[in-house]
Amino acid sequence: MLSLAWRNIWRKRGRSLMTAGAIGLVVLITIIFYGFAGAAISGIYQRLTERVGHLQVQVASYRDARDFADRLIFNAATVQAALPEAEWLAALDVPGLLEGDGRSRGIVLSGLAHSPAMRAQFKESYLVMGTLPEHDDPVGIALGSRLARALQVELGDTVYLYAPGTLGFGAAAYMVVGLLDYGEPMLDSRSAVVALAAAQELAAPGAVSRFGLFFPELIRLGDDVRVPAQQEALQAALGPGFAVETWRQLEPGMAATIELTEPMMAVFAAIFFILAGLLVMNTIYLSLIERIREFGVIMALGANRRHVIGMVLTESLLLCLAGAAAGAALGGISLAFMAQGFSFPEPLASAYAEFGLPRVFYGSITVAQVLTVLGFTLVTALLAALIPARAAGKLEPVEAMRFTA
């Protein structure tokens, strides 16, 4: 019967090609859609976790703290010793006023210390000119590029930071050694980076605002399932005086957006498949009308309703699977290209970056998404054939054999 169903599909070659082509197109679009979304989500996840870490350690009361000192981890070295094996970042965030060439801006100065890999990653991701201040550089500063433009300063120029209400000297002069581009205008216009030691001297000797932990083996969102266990272990080790938070807790809005992406994509894919399913239903129905007499004969020969319904459903399944196979093959090729990395032209790339999207997308698709596409194909085939199959099953052999279209 499989062979009969396959041959029946191709009786009207043009119509079947068009219908299978529609399914194939939907599968192709869905795969590309998933690939692009997967690239975007992976990119957002990587950018986000590179910036805030998979885990971040701060004092437990940091969200409610009003004073600068209440947000500090004073025993930074002790805390750092308790951190698990991972790439790390230690930061002291100091609000202040930065002045250069007669202009001033309110900024957050970040004193940073990184593990070597994190430092290299930071430079690669954000440094666009000059260099990052070395960990023992007391006067080097890297500015957000928009901040530098606003202050009209360049590499080699001197800027002055005033940080009242802090616990160190409260003021310092720095030399611009680098320019940064975070890809987010707000950050670019309000951020500057010095060595952690320099920031501690300015505002809080021996203290940090936060530690960030980054697990480089966690590349995709799906890898993230291991983070909660790490969080729990670290929280237990540090005790209740500290808040150990995941990136989801630090960026709940972005996390919610990412979580929503998968079901939204499934909804869009379902809409595409519903539209294609209407074409499949039309094709199967037309095929039934054209073969009513033949179905009558088949039933006269002894096929029962189950046989006939099965024939119609099988034809629909084969038609949809044939189209899906073609679409999947083209989708796989497209995904192979996307996996090598692609970018959008300016100003689109910058616009996307403002929303946290990466500048280079690497297409990817998960096994679950492939199964979703396959599932949608099968459901479309079965639902589209349901009405024609039931109609075929209700045929009376003698009346069907007398039918004239």
Partner: protein, 231 residues
């Protein structure tokens, strides 16, 4: 002779809108094993209707139909389908072969519905085609066969499942005289040499000349049931 099919007081009425048509009005008929019988009569006499009811394709409004010891007129659709599959073979006026299947696959179709494995059913189907003298055409599709060849494939399809009774509705109607006669001779040989029971619905005089029994219908009633004729 053993009675294989029995009909008692068969009535069948069709309703089209307000109009009622009494296709059969109290038909009694026994079909015996080994018979080569035609149900004859003018158009509208109820020949095809009677054939369909006897073959389990339709149900009477009134009356009884017995296949051996089993009454079949009250069976469900599924039970009747199974009955047709296992006990009857059908040949129709318009050949009604499946156009995308080869002659061999068409001949094996009923066996496939019965669930017979592929190799076995193709062997049986090829044997049936050989009996009809068209084994060499087994790989051709219906559109590559003449009308007579197609009808012989249809007979092979009916024959392959070794049914109790082959019911043929106007099998020679679409065939020219030479081809029609050739088909009649094949079926006659199956009847006389292999004991296959045939029941025809026909008004073709060529066929009526060759049957051993003729049942005449007029206005839904049997008006004459001939004595067996010498072949």
């Amino acid at each position: 002779m053993k009675t294989i099919l029995k009909a008692r007081d068969i009535h069948k009425t069709y309703r089209t809108g307000e109009v009622e048509t009494h296709a059969l009005r109290g038909v009694d008929l026994d079909i015996h094993a080994g018979e080569f019988t035609a149900i004859a009569g003018p158009s509208g006499s109820g020949k095809s209707t009677l054939l369909h009811i006897l073959g389990g394709l339709d149900r009477p409004n009134q009356g009884e139909v017995w296949l051996g010891e089993a009454r079949i007129d009250g069976l469900s659709f599924t039970e009747l389908a199974k009955l047709r599959l296992t006990h009857f073979g059908f040949v129709f006026q318009a050949y009604n072969l499946i156009p995308v299947l080869t002659a061999l696959e068409n001949a094996a179709f009923v066996l496939e519905l019965q669930g017979m494995p592929r190799r076995e059913r193709e062997t049986k189907a090829l044997e049936a085609l050989a009996i009809l003298g068209i084994a060499e055409l087994s790989g051709r599709r219906p559109n590559q066969l003449s009308g007579g060849q197609q009808q012989r494939v249809a007979v092979a399809r009916a024959l392959a499942a070794n049914p109790k009774l082959i019911l043929a509705d106007e099998p020679t109607a679409n065939l020219d005289s030479k081809t029609g006669l050739a088909l009649i001779e094949h079926m006659q040989r199956l009847n006389s040499e292999d004991g296959v029971t045939f029941l025809f619905s026909t008004h073709d005089p060529r066929l009526l000349e060759h049957v051993t029994r003729t049942v005449y219908l007029e206005d839904g009633q049997i008006v004459r049931d001939s004595v067996p004729q010498a072949a």
